[in-house]
Amino acid sequence: MVVIAWKDEFCTGNPAVDHEHQQLIHGINSVCEGIHDGPPDDETRDRLGDLLAHITAHFALEEAVMREQLYDEYQPHKDDHEVLLDHIRDIMCAYEAGVFAGRREDFIKRLGDWFGGHFGTLDARLHRVLGQAPDPVAMKISKIDLDQGKNEINVLLTTHGK
């Protein structure tokens, strides 16, 4: 079982954002659960496709909120969204081409890296600035470990001062 466990620290205070983050984590978990060392299969393709749709919609909503709130770092954040969408497509195409055949852990780690980097940095700042985080604390995902024994992705958060 491979899983990213939802933690309360992930809450941003915005129910829509939290809902979509949970949805995305669930999506990543589904993909990781289904991945195997064999050739690419339709189910994984579909799950990746659904994940792409969810993340695209989530980014669209987040960008609408940023524009509405006149967020000062809208453009760099939006640029990062576009990069992330490019990357998930890369992951999908690499999977399709069999790049990850026999490299299940690489795939899981890549997917985790893809999600965690943005979530822990730019998203954290966004929700802090918009005053949506329950505590005005900078959260940074310091590292993502694949605990090979438990097949869990541990997301470690480091709290910083204001």
């Binding site: 829509a16 809902h19 690499a94």
Partner: protein, 531 residues
């Protein structure tokens, strides 16, 4: 009405093709006839305000003050008077051409009835404004207009005394009348301005200003014309004389000889019946009304992209009704939706990579779903083979690529090019359904749904959401805006594109990666390629 519209449409398309070469699509006056109408209105208003300063009401002051402006202050007020006249003539031309063009291109049906009907109402206001303006000068032409207008109105059984009696003899006529006329000549254009604003209420991103080059050029043209042929008056009006030979402004006064020769009753029937017929045009057969877009709340998170992209303000955001944790949901007003599908092209969940069984977008056209388009793309790919397979996505109103007789090309029709989510291009190429994708639609500036091709331009250039993904190899994508009269051009472009596809190396697009090493998103990138 098709017998009337077809030749008009092809005449416009032919002319616009030439004007695209002379002016370029951005400056082509045919693509902003309405905007030019607005622009000329502002010139008329500004010049009118100036000459109003010098205009005197009363007899003979109305005439003498106008003569002063025309001759004594020819270098300023005289030019303003000429600008005022010629800009208002130009405005009539723009309004009528705009009406004919929208009619010819079928851009008045369904939810677009509102723009059409409000536009028709401006005709009466424009002509009334012009007629009252000529009346103010109180020369022989004004006398003729005054008598002819009142005689025409007297045909209606609504006046106790014939109002033409006001112009029977000098003793009947009071200089105070000009105060009324000035009021009318200001009030009618003000009301026209209100209707011009109203006319745009069901349109987003309305073009009310022509391109700068066009604005400068056309103003210079009017200015030169004002210098070369200043507007002058006839002899002063004299009710003891009959106006004989008149230099008519045919843009505004064409109806008066008709009243004289065909009778006032005929003219009322013509004007009244003609207006009624014009108003009813949106509802005349053949009526084709497609079902409006529908929102699927399970797939809508209220991101507002459909609202932003809708050219007809048919979608708006309202508080959530399904208990989902999102703040808002998109709501479609079916009375305003023209079923163009541009909202679908903006929706992030209209994603062809999704699981087929769940492929329902947040906003869809019921009779042309995203799932159906995807299925059509797959079906289209089946008979294609070789290295130059092309799937062309095109709209109902542009040049039909399917009819060009190009081998190894399959066509997937859309309501509007703006309906195409850029992900479809990515999908077709990455799934190897084709070697190249063509996106075609109405000629630039001629989109049947106003801005579909503009949105596609932005999305493919990654300047507008949703953006084309960077991994899509642009050498395998051809975008070409072509009208039905541009068959040869489209044929040439697609054929050349197909030849280029044959020369491309076996694509590693499926394995091309642009992953950032270690998942960093700090702008530093390294590429990995497939093992």
């Amino acid at each position: 009405m098709e017998f009337l519209k077809r030749p008009m449409k092809f005449a416009f398309l032919w002319l616009e093709g030439w004007f695209d070469r002379f002016f370029g699509p951005k400056w082509n006056p045919f693509y902003c006839l309405g905007a030019l109408g607005y622009y000329y209105f502002w010139i008329v208003a500004a010049s009118g305000i100036y000459i109003f300063i010098f205009f005197d009401t009363g007899i003979p002051q109305a005439f003498t003050s106008t003569e002063y402006m025309t001759h004594d202050q020819w270098y300023l007020a005289g030019i303003m008077r000429s600008l005022h006249r010629y800009a208002s003539d130009a405005m009539v031309v723009m309004v009528l051409m705009h009406l004919c063009r929208e009619f010819a291109f079928d851009r008045y049906r369904g939810g677009r009835w509102f723009s059409w009907v409000t536009g028709v109402s401006t005709l009466w206001l424009v002509f009334s404004a012009g007629v009252t303006g000529y009346w103010l000068v109180w020369d022989k032409l004004a006398q003729y207009i005054a008598i002819a207008s009142t005689e025409w109105l007297d045909w209606l059984p609504i006046f106790g005394e014939p109002i033409a009696r006001n112009f029977l003899a000098s003793s009947h006529f009071d200089g105070r009348f000009f105060t009324l006329l000035v009021f009318m000549h200001i009030a009618i254009p003000l009301f026209l301005l209100f209707i011009m604003w109203f006319h745009l209420q069901r349109i987003s991103y309305a073009k009310v200003n022509p391109a700068r080059g066009l604005a400068v050029g056309t103003l210079a043209m009017l200015f030169v014309l004002s210098l070369v042929k200043p507007a002058i008056s006839h002899e002063m009006a004299n009710l003891a004389e009959v106006p004989g030979v008149l230099n008519m402004d045919w843009f505004y006064l064409w109806a008066y000889p008709m009243i004289e020769h065909l009778g006032p009753g005929f003219m009322w029937a013509f004007a009244g019946g003609g207006t009624l017929l014009l108003i009813l045009v949106p509802w005349l057969p053949p009526k084709k009304r497609r079902p409006a877009a529908v929102v699927d709340l399970k797939n809508c998170n209220g991101c507002t992209r459909c609202v932003t992209d809708c050219p007809f303000r048919a979608v708006n955001m309202q508080p959530r009704t399904d208990g989902a944790p999102f703040r808002e949901e998109a709501v479609v007003d079916p009375s305003m939706c023209v079923s163009c599908g541009i909202c679908v092209g903006a929706c992030p969940t209209a994603m062809p990579f999704r699981r087929a069984s769940d492929l329902v977008a947040g906003i869809e056209l019921p009779d042309l779903s995203v799932a159906h388009i995807r299925a059509q793309a797959h079906e289209a790919a089946v008979p294609l083979n070789g290295k130059d397979r092309i799937i062309a996505f095109g709209c109902d109103h542009g040049c039909d690529a399917a009819k060009l007789g190009i081998n190894n090309l399959a066509f997937v029709p859309l309501r509007c090019a703006g309906m195409l989510l850029p992900s479809f291009i990515d999908y077709v190429l990455s799934k190897n359904l084709a070697d190249g994708v063509v996106v075609s639609g109405c000629r630039e500036g001629e989109c049947h749904h106003r801005i579909g091709n503009v949105w596609v331009d932005g999305r493919l250039a990654r300047e507008r959401d949703p953006q084309l993904r960077r991994r899509v190899p642009v050498e395998r994508l051809l975008k070409n805006w072509a009208a039905p009269t541009d068959r040869r051009q489209l044929f040439t472009e697609i054929s050349a594109f197909q030849a280029r596809l044959r020369d491309l190396p076996e694509d590693d697009a499926a394995t091309r990666l642009t992953l950032v090493n270690g998942g960093k998103t700090d702008g530093t990138e390294t590429s990995e390629t497939a093992a």
